[in-house]
Symmetry: C2
Subunit: 583 residues, 2 copies
């Protein structure tokens, strides 16, 4: 109710949206960053004729698309909200796409609440929106002063919000959020402001219009005690219908893949970091598909996103050290059909984990590339080492977790990521590693490679990334002792190649070592275990993973200290081969 | 080199620190939020006589405590840095503790870099520091304008930082960061500023003093090509020694536990939400131990942290909707011996995952309580449901992951969390659940309960939280069919009770169902699987977990739709009992 007047003026006069064609690129975007105001959003859909009363009354019922917080199950909702402080950074991505890429006349309207102004991600968005001069982005700030539990830090001091917004480079307008003439004037000013985004800072009353709850704490997310009295006080039952204006002008078209994809290739035996292969492959994929967009968090000279950035500066956005905005911008861009790849150190995607979680609920097609995985980074120490990223990214609906060990493999996986729906995560390495596979080999998502096998393998070693190379060294050592070890390169950690794993367990009499540069929880080892959980034949599995907090050191020293180098692998294999193994 | 003059003036004249007694509460705190400036920090330690040249030369070598980024392996370092934008929010926690709790004369000095000003967490810290009037907090902002890859969004426009800081309620001073007189004046002004924090915004030159690199891009994190020339240009080899002033005045003492702990109790059969039990238990623990501090992210009426807040308002800090600051404040508080419990919805700890990851590297003793776990929350929808939290928190070094199903169990776990070192995570439920256990039973971390068993159990069901109640219903249904099922309540998901699991597998002929209100990856099911991975006898395990994106609905509808209700459990058990089960 606090934002009802603000939204009424917006949809009646300013919003340009074709409810029959929600995918029209010319449409404005309306993002309810305060997703708990879903009743207002659904009331707008009802007023616009998009849904009827009957559907409106299914609110929050199982099977209804009108969920407690909006999700893209509804065709007129682009992204899920409900974790606060995400709508504006995602709006930045939408506005970047419209202003710089597809050049549609889209305006992005974000309704955000005052409670969520405490989220740092909001200020990442304010800074980036101004930096990129997003005058097609308009935030409507509903300052009803009351959060779920009590008053915000700022209360109704609208001047504070204005000073902050201006210090971050925005145009800011203060307004009485229940004065429709004033709101109209503010929106008119906002859409005529060039070169910077505008925020309409509206003083509002929570529960406005219903005296039983207006400006009173304790009614957050609660139904009214006396709905009939409230309706009467609001002027009785009305059947408002609003004709929302449709967008006009020529419809922009997105580029299409031109079929010319030529991935970079490397010779077997070359020493190439998979992060470098990522950069080269992204450039190649971007050359063949004009929808590919690059974003990076101020480490493009480490992730090698800079190779793409130099080739296609018009399709690259620097997101600086703001990983929440980095991921949110990618989410926003993909709502317009672009194919963003976002990169930073793998460890720093943990900064944006809530955004990745919400991106899954948004049914987003998101490509993430995290470099500098694990202890193999060496001297920089544990703060820079991703050791939990596979656990975190596996536990995301729709995700793929890809961890290549060589350059040709990396390149093919990048190409597949561009075509894949859902959330795809690529984990790359800092150090150079030898190229194991020819460029003509296939590396499908969901597959694996078996770089070492024989007819009489006694143990299988399942590895990914840096540990594939350690596993091969271990296999050499074991072979010298007369023990044949099969090595499985599980570059697709999710989905994992169950069939190859089961074949290996069968062939080796149920002896499996897994080894990963990651904590033991939630990574490769557990991915292998769950693949066998319900199988009739279940191997004995020694899970080698990083135990104990790593320190600085040389990669080889750290792999040894973590218990995941060739020596430790060989020893685990010896123990299995010596043991009675069948359960 | 950009911050060397700033730090030289600080340690020579302003810092009060006893290197022989780093745990003295009166000491100032010096946090290098730009952890990549570790060489400068270690040079300070050398100048202060805390380390010698020989140790300094072990920098970044394996076995040295002088890691690439500072960690608390060094006694004079309180928290690990290296993930940018964390030092200031942690400093807020330190300053809160000093100003409001132990009332030590500590000043908290945070050196932060300009690149990290793009991190939203920094602005969470600016807002909270001003809100809590932390005049014992002084930020030193090293504006060298160059990030790893290029210039920041703000460059050398110091006025922009000043306007932002002032809009967030800080006192701000601009200064030439290489003019020691000016720096001196700025610090003097900072320490005499009352009622609000101060930031000294210093214009600096990256690589200052060495013309080969000064203000040039491309030298981030790189060794100098010609170190001898650089030393000569800097004035030759000197052996500076600085006598750092020691703190003075009476040493504050922290309260101790008084042995009076009386936990709340509930009767078997009562219906109580575990989140409510958390709030009641925290109040009891707080009554018995004056070091317990409560923090919450503006949802204390949902997490029930409000029960503690009302009982001990002087030991409660509202952190508003800013989960990064919430966790960071807890990290800061525990560096002073306080025992913070931080709570929010379990889903929203994903917002602070990088802070939790870094807290483990900081060897922090952190207590986190996440409510509203899983689909059992009901109508609010997936944005509010934690479904990845167990995977994320298991993959944290030193962590315990606790997921109680009843109120008495919850209370005892809260009491143990207060005493436990490392990172402890409690996962609580929204709906009320029946109390299963008497208040006199024990629930050790690392243990489990077996609420249902017999001498001829044919299948074991491993559950936690809401699914324990579903498992018991399933066991009833199975019993009616003549199948005895053992139910294991694995309230300690990490560490898990391996012995009880193995006994159950043995007793049931290797038939195990696991069931969790969480994605299949990284949660209870995989925790059970890895417990058996290398065992000689390995059960067949059916892992029931949430598959498919949940929607709004009633808890029972959602448990059924997710495939984790009593019916699904019973069916999985039937399939196992019907199957030939031994591998």
């Amino acid at each position: 109710m606090s934002a009802a007047d603000l939204m009424a003026v917006l949809v009646a006069k300013y919003l340009r949206y074709d409810f029959d064609n929600p995918d029209d690129l010319r449409n404005d975007k309306l993002v309810f960053s305060k997703g708990h105001a879903s009743t207002l959003l659904y009331a707008i859909f009802r007023a616009a004729g998009a849904i009827d009363d009957e559907e409106l009354l299914t609110y929050r019922q199982h099977g209804s698309r009108l969920e407690g917080h909006p999700t893209p199950v509804i065709p007129w909702v682009d992204v899920a909200t409900g974790s606060l402080g995400q709508g504006l950074p995602i709006g930045v991505g939408m506005a970047l796409g419209a202003k710089y890429l597809d050049k549609a006349p889209t305006r992005v309207w974000v309704l955000h609440g005052d409670s969520e102004m405490a989220e740092g991600s909001v200020w990442e968005a304010y800074e980036h929106a101004a930096h990129y001069e997003l005058d097609n982005l308009i935030a409507v700030l509903d300052v009803n002063r009351l959060g779920q539990r009590g008053e915000t830090m700022v209360g109704w001091n609208l001047d504070v919000y204005k000073a902050r917004a201006e210090a971050f480079g925005w145009h800011a307008i203060e307004v009485d959020g229940h004065d429709v003439e004033a709101i109209d004037g503010a929106y008119a000013e906002a859409i005529s402001t060039a070169g910077r985004p505008t925020v309409v800072i509206a003083k509002t009353i929570k529960g406005s219009g219903v005296s039983a709850v207006a400006d009173k704490p304790g009614f957050h997310g609660k139904a009214l005690d006396d709905a009939d009295a409230a309706i009467a006080e609001l002027g009785g039952v009305r059947n408002l219908h609003i004709d929302v204006a449709k967008p006009e002008g020529p419809a922009p078209e997105l580029p299409a893949a031109d079929g010319s994809l030529e991935l970079p290739t490397w010779e077997v035996g070359d020493e190439v970091a998979t992060r470098l292969a990522y950069g080269e492959a992204l450039k190649a994929v971007g050359a063949a598909d004009g929808r590919v967009v690059g974003l990076d968090g101020e480490v493009s000279n480490s992730t090698y996103a800079e190779i793409f950035a130099k080739a296609f500066p018009e399709r690259y956005f620097e997101m600086f050290i703001a990983e929440q905005q980095l991921v949110a911008a990618a989410v926003g861009l993909q709502t317009r059909g672009w194919k963003p790849f976002a990169s930073t150190f793998a460890a720093f995607f943990s900064r944006a984990y809530d955004f990745i979680r919400m991106a899954a609920i948004s049914r987003a097609n998101l490509r993430l590339a995290g470099s500098h995985a694990g202890v193999s980074i060496g001297e920089d120490g544990p703060s820079q080492m991703a050791l939990e990223d596979m656990a975190a990214l596996r536990a995301v609906d729709s995700s793929a977790v890809l961890h290549p060990c060589d350059a040709n493999q990396t390149a093919q996986l990048v190409a597949q990521m561009a075509e894949r729906e859902g959330i795809s995560y690529l984990r790359t390495l800092r150090p150079a590693t030898p190229v194991l596979y020819g460029a003509d080999e296939d590396f499908p998502i969901g597959g694996s490679k078996v770089p070492r096998s024989s007819d009489d393998d006694e143990v299988a070693i399942v590895a990914a990334g840096i540990t594939v190379h350690e596993a091969l060294k271990a296999a050499d050592a074991l072979a010298a002792e007369g023990v044949n070890a099969r090595v499985i390169d599980a570059y697709s950690v999710k989905p994992i190649d169950v069939e190859t794993l089961r074949d290996a367990a069968e062939a080796t009499g149920g002896r499996v070592v897994t080894v990963e540069d990651h904590w033991p929880e939630g990574g490769l080892g557990e991915a292998v275990l769950i693949a066998f959980a319900d199988a009739e034949e279940r191997p004995r599995v020694k899970v080698l993973a990083v135990t104990g907090m790593p320190h600085s050191g040389k990669p080889a020293e750290l792999l040894a200290a973590a218990g995941i180098d060739a020596d430790h692998i060989a020893q685990a294999a010896r123990e299995l081969v010596g043991a009675a193994v069948r359960a």
